[in-house]
Amino acid sequence: MKTRDLAYVALFAAIVAVLGLLPPVPVPGIPVPITAQTLGVMLAGSVLGARRGALALLVFLAVVAVGAPVLSGGRGGLGVFVGPTAGFLYSWPVAAFVIGWLTQLSWRRFNLAWALVANLVGGVVVIYAIGIPFTSLYADVPLWTSFTGSLAFIPGDVVKAVAASVVAVAVHRAYPVIELPTRRATAG
Amino acid sequence: MRWGRRAAATAPAETLPRTAVELRDVTHAYGDRTVLSSISLTLTEPRVGVIGGNGSGKSTFARLLNGLVLPSSGTVLVDGLDTRSRAREVRRRVGFVFQDPDAQIVHPTVAEDLAFGPTNQGVAPAEIDRRVDDVLVRYGLDGHRDHPAHLLSGGQKQLLAIAGVLVMRPERIVFDEPTTLLDLANTRRVARVIDELEQDVVVVTHHLDLLAGFDRVLVFEDGRVAADGSPAETVPWYVARIS
């Protein structure tokens, strides 16, 4: 990893933390207030790409683990890793990786539609696919109960995926960071 | 005197190998935008100032001096070492202080940040502690040792950034607009700190009064050295030119 990558990883981990410090926003028509933190997961993936995005989230989790209260609601420390919803936390590096991977796949023709696909698949589907079964296994409740309990959050996550996609497209135009391997390097 | 340069400099000049930075026909371009074109010069003076408008190439020039930027063509030699092939050794000799102190403080607390550079250099922990104590006292930061760097004032942060370079014991320090983001009082304070350094310095600045006692001033314009001489010759020329 280049020094530049270390800086990207540390600063995006910090962005995820800062978004967690913002108070939740109530949105009309959506049952639970939206927290901005998973927006950071989506941004890390779609701006930095798969590898650096996933690392940024791993570093963010390390920062939470060493006691920084930077999870939304001012939570932090090791407790959150053993709590019933810890699966959602563990899903974040995977989600950022998937978002980054999908973004890299579509990088040459990247637009709002591709960004939306990446953020919905990585930032919503992947997160719930890991978080819900974790809760169900961990707390010993039926999968269905765990799923219906999470339904209320899905509209907010879709809103965030749209927001992240708009930002990703704007940043892609103004300051692209993802570098695709050139043909020559792979063909070597 | 611990750093020894100034003390040693009182000896006859011939007996001392002065640090020297030499640029041989250096051109630098970012993509197809040429920011420096065929610069050739040698810096041996203890105090060198660099002035010029935004985009004149002076920031890139500063970064060439310690290998942060490598020339597109031509050669930069620091004490005879090519920055292209000996970047690590060059960086050990030439420290760099940036404009924005916030971008160069990397650790959460003051003492940890000061230890960063010498740790990278492989300096023994006991020696690092000694150097850190030394600069903390020297710059009036000894009460802030375990403070979050974030809570320091802008002036204190820039002093911390300078201290973070000093603990690495470089021979020459390049400053890229070190006072641009500071208020008047802190600008004066940093100017005094630079003035008192034993090291040779190169200062890129818009604050012309910083250059009063300097040995040599370069004026950059469109990627070329438009004037080169003592502050008394160059600064009035530059001021006349822009007004």
């Binding site: 270390l6 910090a14 006691g67 420390g77 409740v141 | 973070g164």
Partner: protein, 215 residues
């Protein structure tokens, strides 16, 4: 300060961070192996005793960690009541409560730097795939250092936008914030290099592109 650490001189505070984390991990595994309510309740009592009596942590600090999951634990108990009965419900709730509290005790009694050192130690095996533990520690430290700075920048961007009449700033805030962070990353990486962050090579460049021999 950006930390949940509460200074103190108790034996719990002075115990090595690695030991505390090992005990926490063992507790995590152990609690899931038993389902007898008295064992789990005993563990909870022990954790509370260590936290409140030995480490002398204020009850408020521990409660602050439990509060966010409190509703969830209550809901969990209700679900169990309907599906499996009161006793398994009590075990499930007490188990989670114990773990959350134990983790809170470790966090409150261990310095950030000590935990970062443990993180560096834990990633030692990853040396094999080219990860340098010291760099992991550096990135974690840099993140802690930049969180307050970015929070401040976000606030400043919000002010600038409000000053220009923007009412809804959430999304508009993000583009300038992300771009300013990318620019900051550029200067920061220069500053890291200038201070010798790349002094040791990442790994021996044995498999450089040109050196791949015939298969």
């Amino acid at each position: 300060m950006l930390s949940l650490y509460l200074p103190g001189a108790s034996p719990v505070h002075r115990a090595p961070a690695g030991l505390k984390l090992a005990v926490l991990a063992a507790l995590g595994v152990g609690l899931f192996l038993v389902s007898r309510v008295e064992v789990v309740a005993g563990a909870l009592a022990a954790v509370l005793a260590v936290g409140l009596a030995v480490a002398r942590l204020p009850g408020r600090a521990l409660w602050a960690q439990v509060r966010p999951v409190w509703i969830w634990l209550a809901a969990l108990f209700v679900v169990h009541l309907l599906v499996t009965g009161p006793l398994p419900g009590a075990v499930a709730v007490l188990r989670l409560l114990t773990l959350v509290l134990a983790a809170a005790v470790v966090t409150a009694t261990t310095r950030v730097t000590a935990l970062v050192a443990v993180v560096e130690w834990l990633v030692q095996p990853l040396r094999l795939v080219g990860v340098r533990p010291a760099r992991v520690g550096l990135v974690v430290a840099m993140t802690l250092r930049f969180i307050p700075l970015l929070a401040e920048r976000a606030a400043r961007i919000r002010e600038a936008q409000t000053a220009r009449g923007a009412e809804r700033v959430r999304l508009g805030l993000l583009v300038p914030l992300v771009i300013s962070v990318l620019q900051l990353a550029h200067t920061l990486s220069e500053a890291l290099d200038a201070r010798g962050a790349d002094d040791t090579p990442a790994r021996p460049l044995r498999r450089a592109a040109g050196s791949v021999g015939p298969a």
